[in-house]
Amino acid sequence: MSYYCDKYPIIEKKCISRDTFSITIYAPEAAKAAHAGQFANISAPGFTLRRPISICEFSRSRGTLRFVFEVRGKGTEAISRLNVGDNLDVLGPLGNGFAIPDSARRVVLVGGGIGVPPMLGLAKKLGDRATAILGFRDYSRIILADEFEKYGAATAICTDDGSVGYNGMVTGPLESTLKNTGADIVCACGPMPMLNAIAKICAQYDVPCRVSLEQRMGCGVGACVVCSCLTVRNGQEHYARVCKDGPVFDAKEVKFNG
């Protein structure tokens, strides 16, 4: 795993839903090094801390990296004001990403809200081996669902208010999928309570589960041990680094209430 830190030109920028932006940069060496599920630490002009943003997808042949992020505060707002022609100061690709065994034929991808974008790179890689279950607050927040379908994933949409698709949380369709067709592995990204619920269902059906976590972050490269997450390995509690040991963890190792 190698990473870079440089300024890369923005070649495409779109607002894809309320407060959610898609930015694509031309960064051939970073694209070459990238894996699905990794992230980048992106400089927010005028702020001390970079913002960790997941890599939505990448193209090694075109040399591009794409980020889809939500404006949550002043830092992400500053990033959202950058436009085509401006440079994006990117430290990445960082973290471990999702490792999917070649033998896995049925992979379930679960994304909640702004946890949806990092799953798209996996959908692109897996094609029709993937089933995507995507959860949003309501119809106005739906992002990227058509792109999951384009890459060949059987895609189900869930909304909290039932305005589109399944009325309720992603855990409903996930449980039916595991009960009816089974899965070789489940990969998920979203809010902690959602990940906790998914981990429990996967444990119940004895399906391996990988979760991508978020934490307030410092360096992004594993040095400062700021973005820690309580994990248990070999019976020992340990603060793992979300940026370096993660962001993807085996759900069995994560202490969700730690």
């Binding site: 001390t48 360096c219 490269v221 400062c224």
Partner: protein, 304 residues
């Protein structure tokens, strides 16, 4: 190419830019960008004689022009450092400084004795960490505490000894004089200023530790002032830090009285920043005909 080398407590640094303890880990995470030999030195992640789990997250919060942190000295212990990190650091880096913290004087002595028999270049006594319940800054806030730790460690090691001072005191020059009197070879300053942020929606402090250490450009003027005061109070060399992010900041800190500088939070903003500061200092010396950085140390001309 200017000669950027500096000498502190008999130790030669190829340039005056040192990675501060904390944000740089033990250097191993940055070698994708540049070799560790580009830096004058590395002050390693604060270590304790017994490994520490660290504080419950969140451990960081952003502030205007800075950050608060409360890592709580998570580390693998002095013996783990000596076994896993030190050999590579010595091979790849220049001056390697072991930053040592403890809860009791015996902890500090045990750590210093363990490091004394290694090839680490210097020991930096951390008597200023605001993020642990026992020890840390409690030693650094009184002259008696600071003096007693310095005296004990001085007796336990022949390594050059830097004492890192906390700014959370009434008069930092008194602490500086106290550690100088007990045999410190150098002082490094300033550690973080104790701060707090609250999420007004949840009424919860952002840091799980409630309070944490403030660092970054926000504290730079405080650091310059304190370095200048101490430069006028002690004879031992000062390693200046606290919010340095550009070569201009480094020059300013040296004019206030620092013989070398450390950079911490700036590495979060831009991991290249220490290299940019070294390059900027080189150009500055060339343009101004400066042969040796000692020509600018303490050269501020205060108003009468």
């Amino acid at each position: 190419m200017a000669d950027l080398s500096v000498k502190i407590a008999g130790v030669e640094f190829p340039n005056p830019v040192i990675a501060a303890s904390g944000t740089y880990g033990n250097g191993e995470c940055f070698t994708d960008l540049y070799p560790l030999s580009r830096l004058g030195g590395i002050s390693c992640k604060g270590m304790t004689i017994v490994p520490k789990l660290g504080n419950v997250p969140p451990r960081i919060a952003e502030t205007p022009s800075g950050i608060l942190n409360s890592v709580g000295l998570q580390n693998i212990g002095v013996h783990g450092f000596i076994e896993y990190y030190l050999p590579t650091l010595k091979e790849e880096g220049n001056v390697i400084i072991a930053n040592v913290a403890g809860a009791t004087i015996d902890d500090y002595i045990a750590a210093a004795e363990a490091l004394d028999v290694t090839n680490v270049d210097m020991i930096e006594l951390n008597i200023s960490c605001p993020n642990v319940k026992a020890g840390g800054a409690t030693w650094g806030v009184t002259c008696e505490g600071a003096a007693s730790v310095t005296k004990a460690v001085r007796a336990a090691t022949s390594k050059p000894l830097i004492v890192k001072l906390t700014p959370n005191v009434t008069n930092i020059t008194e602490i500086a004089k106290a550690v100088e009197a007990e045999g410190a070879d150098s002082i490094s300053m300033i550690n973080t200023l104790l701060g707090m942020r609250i999420d007004i929606r949840t009424k919860r402090p952002i840091l799980h530790n409630n309070v944490g250490g403030l660092s970054g450009p926000a504290i730079f003027p405080v650091a310059v002032r304190m370095v200048w005061q101490c430069y006028n109070a002690v004879k031992i060399p000062i390693i200046g830090m606290g919010g340095i992010s550009t070569w201009e900041d480094a020059v300013e800190m040296m004019m206030a009285g620092a013989s070398a500088i450390q950079m911490g939070t700036a590495i979060f903003t831009d991991p290249w920043s220490p290299i940019k500061v070294i390059e900027g200092l080189n150009d500055y010396m060339d343009k101004n005909g400066i042969k040796d950085l000692s020509e600018i140390v303490g050269q501020v001309k205060p108003w009468d």
